[in-house]
Symmetry: C2
Subunit: 291 residues, 2 copies
């Protein structure tokens, strides 16, 4: 059997809810697969091959484009809950009954709603560069995010240097290395998202971020072991939201990386793979019972 | 050569500044040793052998009793700065010129002052269950700490179940396992501290914790790579102080463990050893330069 990697895994398709989902799966099969949920306006080609291949050494990795993204058909819904329902439909169409779920930024909101709506599907959760419903600065884009997403770049990819990496020289150099890696796959690459995607996702994420009463109470219902991880200087979804997630989830570990913005897992990909591998491979502990 | 362990390493003595320091060293020699700084009213026998032996697999580990503690001579100073000066004298008396420094609680204050006063000595820092100068709830013992340290226990060791572990059944069971481990060494055990130690340490730590202007500015001068680690429900030095440390240190990683109080490294000793080993073994990164 051919061992596929981030670069070679063919794009496949599966239908559910009338949507044709594009996806790729690769890595070591036989265990609980890890499904990746992408950020604002990204396609499955935006993942870092050092991260996906690193995690695929010990488990099967599944990347996909949710409804309306790139070559997946359908519309981008204007709510996180519907995005999670679409993700669940995709997962069930693959015949999976249990998986680990990683979500980055917007994908972290989807991962939370998926764990809430279909808890039996989700074994463990990894929440990267993300926050809770109604988190700090989440009712709209942050001022920094507005400036970064509103600016023009000589090379469109340079947007991600500002979104994911800190202003330090070291972080920016790590960012350029990430940009080279995420462009390595040339053949069978997903098209960038259409112009409809950004506004629909923005509507969904600002609705999700709107202030409400007892905003963090819902986190008590996410009992799966969770790893919350972010940079310590996230200006897109403020790092304090990772702290809030950890403090309100019943069973979460928090890791913050230094001198890092929204995409800290791309700044420290080897460290990240080791932290996630350790988290996913630990034996199940009994759930904490407060006495 | 005999390979010593936590249980078998003989207590040795070295003199500096007129103080006879009791210490033990064991593990794999040849690299940068790791020196442990103990918490309030503890002796070097209070460390968890799963932690010390786990870390000693890849490096030399040095445990010691600072001045005035147990069989070390001298007086407990009434300031953290003097405790750090004593620790530095002990380290230099061993002929060490570079080391990694781990500090737990009060020992974490000492570790910070040591890194400030003698930066060339310290390669990397590990700050456990601790906080910054003038941290939240640090001008005195927290109300929870006052209650816990003020209560009477049928078995004196049971104090540590309340100090280090959360009220959950899982955490308390982990606490009882820790108590068994830290009592395993019977031969050549250090005597418990005298009655003078608590008041002197309390004076030093509350002075250090007193509110002041720009309390966290000093952390900018601690440029060593630092791992800040704590439980998410620390009632002795509130967990938010770990967040404050991370946010104000130039190069710190933060890890918080779930359902854990002040002694989270004893609740998850294997996980802790893996996280610390990863942190200490990573290649040196260039220091972050803000551009």
């Amino acid at each position: 059997m051919i061992q596929h990697s981030h670069q070679t895994a063919p794009t496949q398709y599966v239908e559910a809810k009338g949507i044709r989902f594009a996806y790729r799966r690769f890595g070591r099969s036989g265990g609980v697969p890890l499904v990746f949920n992408m950020h604002f306006t990204g396609t499955m080609d935006h993942w870092d091959p050092l991260v996906t291949d690193g995690l695929a050494r010990d488990r099967e990795v599944i990347l996909f484009d949710n409804a309306g993204i790139s070559s997946s058909s359908g519309e981008v819904p204007n709510s996180i809950e519907e995005m999670a329902a679409n993700a669940a439909a995709f997962i069930r169409a693959l015949g999976l009954t249990q998986l680990d779920v990683l979500g980055f930024s917007l994908g972290g909101f989807v991962a939370q709603e998926l764990a809430l709506a279909q808890p039996e599907l989700v074994r463990r959760l990894i929440l990267l560069g993300t926050g809770p419903r109604s988190g700090e600065g989440m009712a709209s884009l942050t001022p920094e995010a507005k400036r970064i997403f509103g600016a023009r770049y000589d090379e469109p990819d340079h947007l991600w240097l500002k979104v994911f990496f800190s202003p330090s020289e070291v972080s920016q150099a790590a960012g350029r290395a990430y940009l080279r890696r995420f462009r390595l796959r040339v053949h069978d690459r997903e098209p960038e998202v259409s112009e409809q995607v950004g506004p629909a996702q923005l509507e969904a994420l600002t609705k999700w971020g709107t202030p409400r009463e007892n905003p963090f109470g819902y986190l008590k219902a996410i009992v799966q072991p969770t790893l919350v991880l972010n940079g310590d200087r996230d200006v897109i979804i403020y790092s304090v939201n990772s702290w809030i997630l950890q403090q309100n989830l019943p069973n979460a570990q928090l890791i913050l990386y230094p001198d890092a913005n929204h995409g800290s897992q791309y700044q420290y990909p080897e460290r990240f793979v080791r932290h996630v591998s350790l988290f996913l491979s630990e034996p199940d502990a009994p759930a904490p019972v407060r006495s």
